[in-house]
């Protein structure tokens, strides 16, 4: 427990000492710090990033599940369509989520995320580590993610980056939970509405959906992102 708290403190203080900076598409998913045993999931995500220069479309499919009470592992294949309209397989990624404390035991809930991504056909890697944080306020929940990212390889500039994501949602009903989302990275500060929902088909089988529309606020010019995620748990 002391190690975990020390790690959280170190991560937070380290990240806070940087300005929030990250390139690429910052809008993605706000992770919750919970892992359920026996959980298996198939996931599809879509992110459409529209600027004055054009549209970048990214999709990813993932398959994974928990392998003990507090950890889950998921593998992703990522495809992107660039400004020229070419869509293709662009990267693959491995993601480990770790629930650090029992939900509700502390004043707030903590988790951790570790990701390793390799660009297809390039000597380009990205490692991400960070904390996941959530706190209930009555029927609302505030979730925050802070990530430290390191990119390296022969085809990419070696650099450190940081990202921050937040989501404040109202648990109106399981099928529809409206939310406000915030994303911050290098040259990007976006905010916008979203929603989350869940439908249970049977025991152990349920579909979760998330969507958000985020507008960049720190600069002039068009910069909108639409994100959609579907998770089938079985």
């Amino acid at each position: 427990m002391r190690f975990i708290l020390a790690w959280c403190l170190t991560s937070l203080l380290f990240m806070a000492s940087f300005n929030v900076r990250a390139d690429g598409i910052v809008v993605d998913k706000v992770y919750h710090p919970y892992v359920l045993p026996f959980e298996r999931e198939f996931e599809w995500r879509l992110i459409s990033h529209q600027t004055d220069k054009g549209n970048i479309l990214a999709q990813r499919i993932g398959l994974g599940g928990s392998f003990n009470d507090t950890m889950s592992l998921e593998g992703y294949a990522v495809g992107e369509r660039d400004d020229d309209g070419n869509f293709g397989f662009s990267a693959y990624e491995l993601e480990l989520r770790w629930q650090l404390v029992e939900q509700g035991r502390l004043w707030a809930d903590w988790g951790a995320l570790f990701e390793l991504e390799k660009q297809e056909g390039k000597d380009s890697y990205e490692a991400t580590t960070g904390f996941l944080w959530e706190k209930e306020f009555g029927r609302t929940s505030l979730t925050m993610n802070a990530f430290l990212v390191y990119e390296w390889g022969g085809d990419i500039k070696n650099e450190w980056e940081t990202e921050f994501r937040a989501q404040y949602r109202y648990r109106f009903r399981s099928e529809f939970q409206p939310a406000l989302e915030l994303y911050a990275g290098e040259d990007f500060f976006g905010i916008g509405p979203g929603f989350i929902g869940l439908h249970r088909f049977s025991a152990k089988r349920q579909l979760k959906w998330e969507a958000g529309f985020v507008t960049e606020l720190s600069q002039q010019g068009k910069d909108h992102s639409f994100r959609l995620a579907l998770e089938f748990e079985f």
Partner: protein, 115 residues
Amino acid sequence: MNNWLGFISLLLFSVLPFSCFAKEYKLILKDHLFYPAEIIVPANTKLKLLIENQDSTPEEFDSFDLNREKVLYPNRSSVIYIGPLSPGRYEFFGEFSPNTARGAVLVEGKTDADN
């Protein structure tokens, strides 16, 4: 400097083990039924549900009202921390036996508006 102090205060506050103040309630899951099926608890109090699954199969405690999901391993006790809650009825069920394993937490007490 003030920002840093506030930030560190929030951080330290968020790792406090509030569970040591939690009031404990025991439930039993047997033959895919919760006993007692309803518990009455005070409002605005941190609660610790200790659920003993006496069945030979796992169950998943699920409650949208309480915002909790937890696997209850067979022949073991599991802990679920909830609250502080406002007065009202908060339903829960077993995801693997949703027709039988059902229950509710009844929260009684004064609301903030009553004070």
